[in-house]
Amino acid sequence: MSELSLETVDLTKRFGKFTALDSVNLKVNEGEVFGYIGPNGAGKTTTIRVLLGILQASEGSAKVFGMDAWKDAVEIHKRIAYVPGDVNLWPNLTGGEVIDLFVSLCGKHDKSRREGLLEDFDLDPSKKCRTYSKGNRQKVALVAALASDADLYILDEPTSGLDPLMEQVFQERVLGLKKQGKGIFLSSHIMSEVEKLCDRIAIIKEGAIVESGTLDEMRHLTRMSMTIKTEAPVEGLDQVKGVHEITDGQGGLTFQVDSDTVGDVVSFIGKFGVTKLESTPPTLEDLFMRHYNTAGGA
């Protein structure tokens, strides 16, 4: 895990006066599945385009496999596979033709994978691209990317048009690649998918990284939700350090606890004779919403 497959240092990208990326620092280790989350317009696709060398960084650096993303783009592309978020294809070519074209433009590819992928993703390659739905166009790009033998797969919201069944196929494929030690850079706004697949995560907001680390590390910095029922009424809970947002409902007493004070809180409530205790760690969605809700003033 010592090698970095991807690294950006103070990466900044401006379009005229608009700053799309503001000092983005990312580090992705080799063989790691990295989740990159943020809503539309936060800068996910711009980051990826810089990494692919089709946009040039205004400031800072972007390196893939230790090479400069802009200058050594072609060399880098021999070892990566990419699925764009918005897949536009040639209306008068068939899906199969496009897949073959894409695969043959890759550095290394494995012909035998193509048929299996077509079957798994249930894609008819003999249809013209103009007849494909958004999901099917995405499948074309996915099949082409997964059929190529890359070291790093860069996937920009690859499942936004897929149905749950296909999403499952996609997740299995990604886990398969992970087992083979391939690196994956997955941009997404589907939290459950990122939670399930990713080793480490970065959250981007308005062009800047607001949080990054493993899911556990990120949870550590936040609160956990607890619901309890006790024999005696709980008194003085609001005085305990690290407890927030106490509500008394039918299901019991619900409150938030800072992760580092969980022990103190548990011993405090123990005095009241606990009959029920439920605790849920924050989901990625909670973490995500926390960043976005505060900004929105909600």
Partner: protein, 547 residues
């Protein structure tokens, strides 16, 4: 079959509302074009002698095959000339309008699932196709009426109200026939692209059948085509009504078949099973260059054929041109013969001088037309980028330079091929029509090839614009407009020399009157290559810019 047409009228209103821009533009453009040209034609050929002379030149097998027979030569009014020359082209344009119109509101809507939504409402099974056909009837009717009234209102020689209304009605009736044919094709094919392709194929076939019939002088064969049929009305000469009635009956019959097929098929299906495409790419498609060839080949081949035919149409008249323009100083000026040459022309060398200048004149004109597909080929790299498709290629093991090189190389190659095709068409038709061909094949080809460096300079400008100003690639057409303008009327307008000097076309030796001069051609070639290279440098350095 009760209720098959329920709510048709509401759907007609929907169609017309969605058509308020699109069809209005078609109607306005076609009407203005038709109406303005009538007095224009009269002004250009104001006396009957000139008109009869023109008609005599055009009355040769190649032109008749292209345009149809000439009627009313014994009293060749401007109306007779207009009817003979214009009806076919306007009818073709209206045919194309109807193909798009009907497909848009039947198969395309079906493909996008809009008809499914409509069908789930209390709407008759045939209401959609019925609404599309009624709308086509209204739109073609308005167009027919406007053209007819407009032409009559110009009061042009030989264009009375009755004849003009018949002319408009013929245009509208051919339009309706193609509306019906398209409705039928939309039942046969299961995709809008397929339906449009099939209808366009029928339109092309209709033109060919008419051409074959007219070339052999067979009215019967020509009448198998709606175009030939419309021309048999001899509008502005004899004003026969029966072709109009046959056209309308034909439209009704074809539409009835389409309705029947529509009523017995499932939504989303076509009677001809969609032919599955290729499951994989052939060896030719497996490279960025192969992709560029695949994307451009169809467009370029069509252009090659069109230019071959356009060359041939000029070739078929060139031998007679001297007799026509010989006595008119204006025409001599239009084709670019300087006054001093006109003054010293003797009867002996007059026709050769006129043929030479005319050949040089059409070489410039044709080169300008040939530039359109050539520049389009080069600009394709930018439209691919704008459509977000370059990203797929450039994110793989393909450098920006080699990616763009494919399109630019095709533009350069196409410039050579299309100039050759035009020269070949011109030579072959001249050879077929003239008693003694005034040209040699080599001479004509070098006259056209002399313009290649000038074309390349424009390719260079296009590449530079793509590299430097990707958001303003439309600028190439402004440059093209300037070049076309100065070549066309620069001489006549007496523009300052430096303005003409800016256009690459100005520096091309005008064969066959002038000697071949290599230095300007070499200089322009170098300029073209430098501009192209600069374009590549800037393209490599800039961001990919979708939208």
């Amino acid at each position: 079959m009760h209720g098959n047409f329920d709510n048709t009228l509401k759907l007609v209103r929907l169609v017309l509302r969605r058509e308020r821009f699109n069809s209005s533009v078609w109607i306005i453009v076609l009407t203005l074009f038709s109406v303005i040209l009538a007095p224009g034609m009269h002004e250009m050929f104001s006396d009957m002698g000139t008109r009869t002379q023109i008609a005599a030149i055009y009355d040769n097998p190649i032109m008749v095959a292209m345009m149809g027979p000439v009627y009313g030569l014994d009293n060749f009014t401007t109306g007779a000339m207009y009817g003979g020359m214009m009806l076919l082209w306007v009818a073709i344009a209206v045919g194309v309008m109807n193909i798009f119109l009907v497909t848009r509101h039947t198969r395309t809507d079906e493909e996008r699932g809009q008809i499914e939504v409509v069908r789930s409402l209390p709407v008759g099974r045939l209401a959609t196709i019925n609404a599309a056909m009624i709308s086509a009837l209204l739109i073609n009717g308005v167009l027919a009426l406007l053209i007819g009234l407009g032409l009559a209102a110009t009061g042009t020689d030989g264009m009375g109200l009755g004849s003009s209304l018949l002319y408009g009605a013929l245009v509208g009736a051919v339009g309706l026939v193609f509306a019906a044919i398209t409705a039928l094709c939309c039942q046969l094919s299961s995709s809008s692209g397929g339906a449009i392709g099939m209808s366009m194929g029928v339109l092309g076939l209709a033109y060919m059948i008419r051409a074959a019939g007219d070339a052999q002088g067979s009215d019967l064969i020509a009448c198998m085509s709606p175009f030939g049929l419309a021309q048999r009305s001899q509008v502005y000469v004899n004003d026969y009504l029966w072709p109009l009635l046959v056209l309308l009956a034909l439209a009704c019959v074809i539409a009835a078949i389409a309705f029947k097929l529509n009523s017995i098929r499932d939504l989303g299906q076509g009677f001809l099973a969609a032919k599955p495409g290729r499951r994989g790419a052939g060896p030719l498609l497996r490279s960025p260059f192969g992709l560029a060839v695949r994307l451009l080949a169809k467009m370029l081949i069509i252009w090659f054929v069109v230019m071959l035919m356009l060359g041939a149409s000029y070739g078929s008249v060139i031998a007679d041109i001297g007799a026509f323009v010989g006595d008119s100083p204006e025409y001599l000026q239009v084709i670019g013969i300087p006054a001093e040459v006109v003054a010293t022309m003797t009867d002996a060398d007059k026709s050769k001088i006129i043929v030479d200048y005319f050949a040089a004149f059409i070489t410039v004109m044709m080169t300008l037309v040939c530039l359109v597909p050539v520049l389009n080929a080069a600009m394709r790299v930018r439209s691919e980028e704008r459509e977000g498709r370059s990203e797929h290629i450039l994110s793989r093991v393909v450098s920006n330079t080699s990616y763009m090189a494919g399109y630019v190389a095709i533009a350069y190659i196409a410039s050579v091929l299309i100039q050759f095709a035009t020269a070949a068409g011109l030579y072959l038709a001249t050879d077929a029509m003239a008693e003694a061909n005034p040209f040699t094949f080599g001479g004509l080809v070098s006259a056209f090839f002399a313009y290649l460096p000038a074309m390349w300079v424009l390719i260079g400008v296009a590449v530079l614009i793509i590299g430097l100003f990707p958001k303003a690639t439309g600028a190439i057409w402004a440059v093209y407009g300037f070049v076309a303008f100065t070549s066309f009327i620069g001489g006549m307008l007496k523009l300052p020399d430096w303005v003409n000097w800016l256009s690459p076309m100005y520096h091309v030796p005008r064969l066959p009157m002038e000697e071949m001069a290599y230095p300007p051609l070499v200089v322009m070639t170098v300029i073209a290559l430098v501009l192209t290279a600069l374009g590549f440098v800037f393209y490599k350095r800039r961001d990919l810019a979708p939208a």
